[in-house]
């Protein structure tokens, strides 16, 4: 398991995962209630031996499907099968431009070769594909090489580097792998194509002129359902964990919306902070980093003030 991945590779937890028929029941409820966009992610969705038992029926529901995968399990037959009814968008995360670096992150010998073969199979079958990377201290030196690698295949490339603590609350090595605040800001100042996606969203959303804490679209027009059928506002905020297969879809969605509507307001320290327009903190970040929905996240405070210094330098 990649050390940056936040999904525990736990056999007991895998056994709790919803069945294919459960997933399809949920999808049909969601479509009946207006779902148009659906992202399939993990962990690694293709680890499920019954992946196509879920995916193929989903392609007939009138959804715009996106698939996030690490690509290592995509063989020629799987790429051909995907091409029969492809996702609107597929994104593969790469962890390095060489086997040495890639596999120092994944910890799986041969995974770099498998990933490259998976990418080539999808390119051959003309699947709409983009590459991205999670940048850590271990692979940052290959950022440009990864971009060139993507472009050599004719594929777009983006990078992200703001890693959170694990979602399951277990001990992580986050301090060893995520970039420092100054490194993040330095990178986003030079890596324009990737920075756009990360910072513009954050900046726009953080300038909301009120004290609302959950300022994005989570729990308003979007939800997440985890492998065990629990619904959340977003993938990083594992509350209120209501189960639509038990309560009914509409009731579950209402609970999630109520949770967002009744979330505590922004902490006064954050509300009054002069670097707030530059801060990407949200309740999910706070929950992951300090167990609250509101408290400042020191890592993001550093990033926000470093951004403020850079972006206001010439004002």
């Amino acid at each position: 398991m990649c050390y940056v991945c936040q999904v525990a590779n736990d056999v007991d937890q895998q056994a709790r995962e919803l069945s294919a028929s459960d997933w399809l029941e949920l999808a049909n409820y969601a479509v009946d209630n207006g779902m148009v966009f659906l992202l399939l992610t993990g962990g690694e969705p293709l680890l499920r031996p019954d992946f196509f038992e879920i995916f193929t029926p989903l392609t007939r529901l009138g959804l715009l499907l996106t698939l996030f995968t690490n690509g290592t399990l995509i063989t020629e037959p799987i790429a051909a099968k995907l091409a029969e009814a492809p996702p609107s968008r597929t994104e593969i995360t790469i962890y390095g431009a060489t086997a040495e670096t890639y596999e120092s992150v994944t910890g799986v010998p041969g995974s770099f070769k498998n990933c490259c073969e998976g990418i080539e199979a999808l390119v051959k079958h003309q699947i709409h594909l983009g590459l991205k990377s999670t940048i850590t201290r271990q692979n940052i030196h290959e950022l440009e090489a990864m971009r060139k690698m993507a472009h050599a295949w004719g594929l777009p490339f983006t990078a992200a580097w703001m890693l959170t603590e694990r979602r399951d609350g277990l001990q992580s090595e986050i301090g060893d792998c995520r970039l420092s605040a100054s490194e993040c800001v330095e990178l986003e100042a030079t890596d324009r194509a990737s920075a756009t996606e990360l910072t513009e969203t954050a900046l726009r959303e953080a300038t909301v002129g009120d004290d609302s804490n959950l300022y994005c679209q989570a729990g308003k027009v979007a939800f997440t359902i985890n492998a065990w059928g629990e619904m959340y506002p977003c993938i990083d905020l594992r509350m209120p964990a209501v189960k639509p297969l038990e309560t009914g879809f509409q009731a579950a969605w209402q609970v999630v919306q109520d949770f967002v509507d009744n979330a505590p307001p922004l902490d006064p320290v954050c509300f009054d902070c002069e670097a707030r327009p530059y801060c990407p903190r949200c309740p999910a970040w706070s929950k992951l980093e300090n167990g609250t929905l509101t408290k400042p996240v020191p890592y993001l405070c550093e990033i926000a003030f470093a951004r403020k210094e850079i972006y206001e330098k010439d004002l």
Binding site: G34, V36, R60, G62, L63, A85, P86, S88, Q126
Partner: protein, 88 residues
């Protein structure tokens, strides 16, 4: 001409969304938003029509003159033909 069958028409929050399915995703990556007149035409296109013949149906349904209906129907059909939504 008639419509391809590789699309699902959904009404979400009052908007009519035409979403490609199957291999059609390769050719049209996204969705098409239809107004009510376009939905009427899309429904008609389940069977084969000539453009002028369809304009007559549209003129009658929406109580517009035939010339206006012909112009609008041709424009719409050309547009969705370019998107690959039609077959002969």
């Amino acid at each position: 001409m008639k419509r391809k069958e590789d699309f699902v028409l959904q009404n979400i929050g009052g908007e009519n969304l035409l979403v490609p399915i199957g291999a059609q995703v390769m050719d049209l990556n996204g969705l098409v938003i239809l107004n009510d007149t376009a939905v009427y035409i899309w429904d008609l296109l389940v069977k084969k029509w000539e453009s002028d013949e369809m304009a007559g149906a549209v003129a009658e349904q929406f109580e517009v003159d035939l010339e206006t209906a012909q112009r609008d129907v041709r424009a719409f059909l050309n547009e969705i033909a370019e998107m690959g939504l039609l077959e002969d």
